[in-house]
Symmetry: C2
Subunit: 201 residues, 2 copies
Amino acid sequence: MRSVRFLLGLLLLTASAAISAQNSPAAAPYTPEYSKDGRLQAPKNYREWIYLSSGLGMNYNAKVSGMDEPMFDNVFVNPEAYRSFLETGTWPDKTVMVLEVRGSESKGSINKSGHYQSTERMGFEVHIKDSAHFPSKWAFVTFDSDQGDLVPPAATCYSCHAEHAAVDTTFVQFYPTLLPIAKAKGTFSAAYLKELSAPAK
Amino acid sequence: MRSVRFLLGLLLLTASAAISAQNSPAAAPYTPEYSKDGRLQAPKNYREWIYLSSGLGMNYNAKVSGMDEPMFDNVFVNPEAYRSFLETGTWPDKTVMVLEVRGSESKGSINKSGHYQSTERMGFEVHIKDSAHFPSKWAFVTFDSDQGDLVPPAATCYSCHAEHAAVDTTFVQFYPTLLPIAKAKGTFSAAYLKELSAPAK
């Protein structure tokens, strides 16, 4: 009987260790959270998510003149969605991509040219796939605070992503480690396949 | 007796579930691995580690002329070292930082200006702190294959990092989310404090 109690104790200890390992900050699966009035809550630890890529001064409009200080954009995705993409080449429900915008600096410390990222976060946006919450599955959400502001479905970001994005309304053509996976899995959008087959201008 | 066997079985099952949770790609702690002749093995899944920052065309030498196609550098660190840094403001033993160099492109898909990262990885280097393996604790290792090549201790990268890096021979001044932590924890190097107090040129 004593050995049974000992084993039971050991079992509980091991089970609680297993739960604790799963609940550690790195391993906790992300689930989108909304306020009572339906506003997405800012994901807190997206800097510990999977990094997809960065750009500097990227612009989709040729008419916009160059900025004196171009900005960096860094893109992160929740780890569960990333692992699903590695297997399938596309995004599962509850995918959350964070676009973080940072200022750039050129001359600082020993750096003499080029650009590095500054400590000031200049912007923070989310592209989320949550079919239970958004009628059109995907939505853009901007943040001035911890409470998200839904970008209205008529905004051009939706139509631009629908018309040009390589995979499931996301710009996988700009994510260097994911592009070959989407190609191998055959998950390019019809719009992107059309762009690829068009003669170079 | 049957209940003891049942409990033992359950215990093994729970223990193996715990081990399996810890060994999942996201949660597995990274430990540096070396070949029999002491060469560091390339960390395989560094793209799932913690992202620190990116630069574009960064250069420490004013005399080098600008490149036609500047390169991006992305820096990642193993999650265990990152979490330790958040608590202490400096790096623990077994810290591994990966510098990934990627080409840049400007006009592609709908992008008209600025730069985004290309699928071609142009370089891959490691800065590792492993006191059991390197007499001076930190070492630089380059990779042309999965087997690392130790950069000789007399190379200028060692002296430059020692003389200019903000924290423990690492350029935390270029990692926007870590710099405020090091400042708060008071872990800046003497060399960096001197640089901060010098009059601007």
